[in-house]
């Protein structure tokens, strides 16, 4: 569960919500675009510093979109877009069909200059500024001429991207299905008062949630109803979901706790199950882009760093290490999914991430027997530190993943 707004997961949720409001044809096209280059460095260069004819200056205001040239040689093209208007604008490079997005910059605020760097193949394009972020934008024709430096997304790379996207979608669906099955079993046990069995299943069922946590969290209505911790409640807010039941099953750390009645148990159990069913339905329709997968991988490690390694997530049951492992599992699947693309762009980063994931898993294995982990309370401070060091070691290179995959 996220406690703060605008974490990567929140951003992903926002972005998904926004995208879904758009033309669906554009959404699917996004999977292969937005290649913002990782190599741009110093200040945004002015048009004067353009010595290869591939730097384009764009000035956008309320009713104009001035593009410094409508003709560049193929290769790495840089658009420096300055918003001189009073409203937020966006900039697009579109294919000649006017629908397929080759590259975009969102959220260019008033007086801001933002940069789009992409590999453009020869062909006819359209540029578009979208002041106020509405309508089809102010468009002009844009031509990329044949040149020696042409770089295209190869058919091979496209295949890798397609594979990554479809594999990840399948993974999320599978985990969501397993979550639903396990949740049904769990709530049945809980409602029947078979508490020992329910306690044993609780962390294992949640594993499926934690593996896809960044996706599950992207549904801003479901997440708080399903995964809110007591400490994160605002005054007067109703507490439902996994952790409400967790407290009822492990009331040892609670002061003056009153156990839930059978009727109350049924209420919370059915609520959790209904939300899990809704989640599963929604997940079936989701599509992903490679940057979302890469960002999701990073987001899962952030979940570990902020909630699991600190022992805050499972305050009552102390089963944090299950969640820890599940977050790492999900992050690793995301990474492995985009790894074939990464191998072609930055093999060193791929190797380093693979090593660090392995070290992380090896370390967690020390606390694991079969599917079960030791209680968080059994960890010494030194062991927690060692786990935290491994999370840091993995998270730093992981923070470079998205940009490297898109480069």
């Amino acid at each position: 569960m996220r406690r703060h707004a605008m974490t990567p997961a929140r951003k992903m949720a926002r972005k998904m919500a926004r995208k879904s409001a758009r033309n669906l044809a554009l959404v699917s096209a996004l999977a292969l675009t937005v290649p913002v280059l990782a190599a741009c460095t110093e200040a945004v260069p002015s048009a004067e510093s353009d010595d290869d004819g591939r730097t384009v200056t764009v000035t956008s205001d309320a009713d104009s979109c001035e593009v410094s040239t409508d003709d560049v040689p193929a290769g790495t093209v840089t658009f420096n877009v300055t918003n001189t208007g009073d409203e937020v604008t966006e900039f697009y490079l579109l294919a000649s069909d006017g629908l397929t997005i080759k590259g975009e910059i969102e959220n260019i605020g008033p007086q801001a200059t933002r940069q789009l760097v992409l590999n453009a193949a020869a062909g006819d394009y359209l540029t578009a500024c979208k002041p106020g972020m509405v309508g089809e934008g102010i468009r002009s024709d844009f031509t990329v001429e044949e040149s020696d430096e042409e770089v295209e997304v190869s058919a091979d790379e496209q295949q890798l991207i397609d594979d990554a996207v479809s594999n990840y979608a399948a993974y999320v669906k599978d985990q969501s299905d397993q979550l639903l099955v396990a949740t049904k079993k769990f709530v049945t046990l809980y409602e029947a008062g078979e508490d020992d069995e329910a306690r044993a299943l609780y962390p294992l069922a949640r594993t499926h949630w934690e593996r896809i946590e960044t996706v599950a969290e992207s549904f801003g209505d479901l997440d708080p109803e399903m995964d809110l911790r007591e400490a994160d409640l605002t005054a007067g807010e109703e507490w439902t979901g996994w952790h409400r039941i967790e407290k009822d099953l492990w009331p040892e750390r609670a002061k003056n706790y009153t156990a839930l009645t059978t009727k109350e148990r049924t209420y919370y159990a059915e609520d959790l199950l209904a939300n899990t069913e809704t989640l599963d339905k929604r997940v079936q329709k989701l599509t992903y882009t490679v940057d979302q997968i890469a960002n999701g991988s990073r987001g899962l490690l952030e979940e570990v760093a902020t909630g699991k390694v600190t022992g805050e997530e499972e305050y009552w049951s102390r089963t944090d290490l299950y969640d820890f492992q599940a977050n790492v599992d999900g992050a690793r699947v995301g990474f492995e999914g985009v790894a074939p693309i990464l191998e072609t762009k930055d093999p060193e980063l791929a190797a380093s991430l693979r090593t660090r994931f392995q070290q992380m898993d090896d370390l967690l294995a020390q606390y694991r027997t079969g599917d079960d982990f030791v209680s968080y309370d059994d960890l010494t401070q030194a062991q927690v530190k060692e786990l935290s060091d491994a999370v840091n070691a993995l998270s730093e290179p992981l923070s470079q993943l998205t940009a490297a995959v898109l480069s």
Partner: protein, 420 residues
Amino acid sequence: MAGISRRGLLGGGAAVAAAGVAAGGYALGQAAAGEQDVAEDGGLVYAFRGEHQAGITTPAQDRLHFAAFDVITDDRQALVDLLVQWTAAAERMTKGLDAGPVGAVDGPYNVPPDDTGEALGLPPGGLTITFGFGPSLFSKNGVDRFGIADRQPAALADLPHFPADVLDAEKSRGDLCIQACAQDPQVAVHAIRNLARIGFGTVSVRWSQLGFGRTSSTSTSQDTPRNLFGFKDGTANVKAEETAALEDYVWVQETDDGGDWLAGGSYLVARRINMTIEVWDRQPLDDQESFIGRTKGTGAPLSGGTEFSEPDFDMPGSNDQPIIPVDSHVAVVHPDHHGGMRMLRRGYNFVDGSNDLGGLDAGLFFIAFVRDPDTQFLPIQQAMAKNDALMEYLRFTSSALFAVPPGAGEGEYVGQALFT
């Protein structure tokens, strides 16, 4: 928004004045370039590269962030790679540049910046970054992780337990250390934060300590500041201007143990000394001065004169006792009573908030640089623990010893001679 870099905001601050500008020639011991940038903000730039590491004879800056690290890999190459990266980042930051070549705000939007940004708009601040190697880098639990155990000087051993040591083991020792000193606390913190970030996966921060005010002067151009007892201390410090004394008491010589890689370097002793402030404050002024052996006002020895007058330990006082009590701090630790052994002290006052009882968690983060800890530190600490009246008000809560390699020359990384 683009184009912001730390030096870019200094308004031509990149101009480098001639080395001779340095008052009293205290650039001695630094690179021949002795880069001194007297920017309009008053901030200095000290060259990172040189014969000796900066941050030792450099006139003590006002602020400190000191960090100790554990190396969490057994991979020698990973350690060397980190030292290379640290050297590059340290050189950049001491010039007032961002930690990485891209910078805090000029990079692409989908990558975390390679500088954390809190020093944007701040001058270089006279930042020095000094690296050290602890005994456990050479051998940890009997394991020679990096193939350097045979190069560990005998003097580089864990400090023994001293009376009044109540050490927090987790906040003592370390495989590596970094001392960052600057005129601005944010500049010092920025340095440690970015270096720690670069080190993730190779090292883990073991402990770190902030110091808010220098307690030593390392140049005759500086006043002696006061510690939290309110006294001037360390008056007999080795100063940057004492060229011969530096060779005798600070810089490891080629003929010394470990001199093949450590010559031109030094040993850094770090001791976190908590003061029982509230109890001290209830002592009559007369007693306070007797404990220290100096007057609280001017810092002159009780035998008279000014701050820099030599104390006369034989001057008789009342009741057939010397005017400077034999158990006063100055009498116990003075070089005259230790065969002339001196050290270069470079400590900082610290306050880490308040303790559970409402008292200040405060004291002196003692740092001293010596050529040989066995003769220049251990006997003095032992004498102090045994005889010093001041001990009543002190608790030692952290302790560490590091070998500080010589400065890195052009194209070298810090500590290179140890790994070649």
